[in-house]
């Protein structure tokens, strides 16, 4: 049978605020257990929550960036369940009145563009972390330890419509969300540290069927690779069951990256009834048009807008515009470099191949080098002015990255400036012609490779500094 895959993603993005959602504890990650805690986030008796205003604005930003409607009258609800990482016995979240609804974003998989619906975005507090002693596996642990540093750290949960039709699309969607929240500066997007977590709702149905199949929720997707692999393996599992005449059980499944398989998380505690109700400790949140406008006006330029601007006013190709806008850091570097007068197209090429290539080899990030946009611009301008060749530029880039010295200084110190003086080059050309009588004959006999050899010899003798244009000009003149 021909199956259609239906996927919806729930992405939890940790908001990169200074303090937590409901108290003033440091929201940043620390490995020292229970050092970012206070009576409020440990659910001590009598303690009350107060909402961090920045989290509301961050949620609004994500909503506006994904074309959502922002709800005017918001409320926070309690989601009640018992677990040792949940200090109050309930999680403060939003239930039937999420702050953002009905948005969308566009993804592009191999040139095919699709619009993916966003059902809702809501704010909630994170739970703490449990360390299971004696084993990585909760089942074999003899006891567990609760670290509440993460308790009440702000999250935005971004829920997509079941509009995704393949693992590639799901990955592209998740990448797009990550790109947006990073551009907005509301989340660092770090998947290894759990700042961005993803659950996938997966089902399959015969092609042409309009009703949805029974879905499973797959958790623990900690990288884009994991999203893709987990979806593929779960889809395979579901299709196998259905083709053998079985039925899918609606359940939560855990993805194990090491074994590349999903496993049921069903526990004997089947009584799930979260008993949501409006949190009486928190008052309604009223968002008026003026507030929305203020946040909207302060939104940074988003990847899509940047891409279009680069194509229209910087004449970049769609490919170049795409690659340069993927990462927020790269695009910032790019914009600053061209602000110093470097040509956009050259800048894209240099950043994407030479700069990132060199950094990759060294295993460091753009932010960790001594290369500044100004230094890169200076280097590119030297090429543009024919002071040095591209080839020379490539040889000195590692030194700039290493030392932060400017290109002009390195070129001067090492005498690398391109020679464009006709007389000087002519001397070298004549000498090479004299020494290579046989080659000259070949050229005259019509062998084009021989010409290349001759140019190579001239460049070599000039230590790569001879202006190639002038070399060619003189050769043609002297040999004709």
């Amino acid at each position: 049978m021909n199956w259609e895959i239906v996927i919806g993603l729930e992405i939890h993005a940790q908001m990169s605020t200074k303090s937590k959602l409901m108290c003033n504890c440091d929201a940043s990650f620390t490995s020292e257990a229970n050092t970012h805690i206070c009576p409020i986030c440990t659910g001590q008796p009598g303690m009350l929550p107060v909402i961090n205003k920045q989290v509301v604005e961050s949620a609004m930003m994500i909503g506006l960036a994904t074309k959502c409607n922002i709800r005017k009258l918001n409320e926070f609800a309690r989601k009640n369940y018992f677990y040792p990482d949940l200090p109050k016995g309930y999680q403060i979240s939003q239930y039937d009145k999420p702050i953002c609804e009905n948005g969308s974003l566009e993804i592009d998989v191999n040139g095919v563009k699709r619009t993916i619906g966003i059902t809702r975005i809501h704010m909630e507090e994170d739970a703490g972390k449990l360390v299971h002693a004696g084993s990585d596996n909760i089942k074999d642990a003899s006891y567990s330890l609760a670290d509440l540093n993460r308790s009440s750290v702000p999250l935005c949960e971004i829920v997509s419509e079941p509009d995704l039709r393949s693992a590639e699309e799901a990955t592209a969607y998740a990448q797009k969300i990550r790109q947006i929240v990073r551009y907005l500066g509301v989340c660092d997007g770090n998947m290894e540290e759990g700042s961005l977590r993803c659950d996938a709702n997966i089902s399959v149905r015969p092609k042409g069927q309009t009703t949805l199949g029974t879905k499973t929720e797959v958790k623990n997707l900690n990288s884009f690779k994991a999203i893709e692999k987990a979806i593929n393996i779960e889809v395979e599992r579901q299709i196998d069951i259905l083709e053998e005449g079985g039925e899918i059980v609606q359940e939560t499944r855990h993805y194990n990256e090491a074994t590349n398989s999903t496993k049921s998380m069903r526990s004997k505690e089947d009584a799930h009834d979260y008993r949501y109700f409006p949190d009486p400790d928190l008052v309604p949140l009223l968002i008026d048009d003026a507030w929305i406008k203020k946040v909207q006006d302060a939104l940074p330029e988003l990847p899509e807008e940047k891409k279009n601007r680069y194509m229209n006013s910087l004449s970049l190709s769609e490919y170049d515009a795409n690659v340069i806008t993927v990462e927020k850091e790269t695009v910032a570097f790019f914009e600053e470099t061209i602000s110093f007068g470097a040509k956009p197209k050259d800048t894209v090429n240099w950043i994407m191949s030479e700069v990132l290539g060199t950094l990759n080899q060294k295993g460091i990030e753009l932010s960790q080098t001594k290369l500044t946009p100004k230094l890169l611009a200076e280097l590119l301008i030297l090429i543009d002015k024919n002071t040095i060749s591209g080839k020379i530029a490539k040889t000195i880039l590692p030194q700039i990255i290493e030392t932060g010295e400017n290109a002009e200084k390195i070129v001067a110190e090492k005498g690398l400036a391109q020679v464009s003086d006709q007389g000087e080059i002519k001397k070298i050309v004549e000498a090479v012609i004299n020494e290579n009588a046989k080659v000259i004959e070949d050229i005259k006999g019509g062998n084009p490779k021989a010409m290349g050899f001759l140019v190579g010899q001239i460049m070599k003798r000039s230590a790569g500094k001879a202006n190639p244009g002038i070399v060619n000009e003189l050769l043609n003149e002297l040999l004709s």
């Binding site: 257990a33 229970n34 206070c38 909760i138 330890l145 409006p278 009486p280 009223l286």
Partner: protein, 96 residues
């Protein structure tokens, strides 16, 4: 709507309480009495009435995004029955 023993057992499970048989019977009886009485609410016409989650309407109460470090963290841990490695220790979560 009447409350039976099975309902009370389910509620106990949801609220992490455990009862003896006698307690179950007694809670079932008192809950049933209370809801028999509270069912009088059903005769109130509430069409179009919005629910009040608060006694007094207030809105938009926020804190600023600033870090204030709590000084008595060790005292928080002192109240825990079982602490290990500066963590709240609990018995094994799964038993099967």
């Amino acid at each position: 709507m009447t409350i039976d023993k099975k309902t009370v057992e389910h509620l106990a499970k949801l609220s992490r309480l455990r009862f003896s048989d006698n307690e179950l019977v007694s809670f079932t009886k008192s809950l049933d009495d209370i809801f028999q009485y509270a069912n009088s609410l059903q005769k109130v016409n509430t069409d179009g009435i919005s629910p009040s989650a608060h006694a007094i309407p207030l809105q938009n109460v926020f804190k600023e995004d600033e870090v204030i470090t709590y000084k008595d963290i060790d005292k928080l841990l002192d109240n825990c029955a079982d602490v290990e490695n500066h963590c709240f220790k609990v018995p094994r979560i799964l038993t099967n």
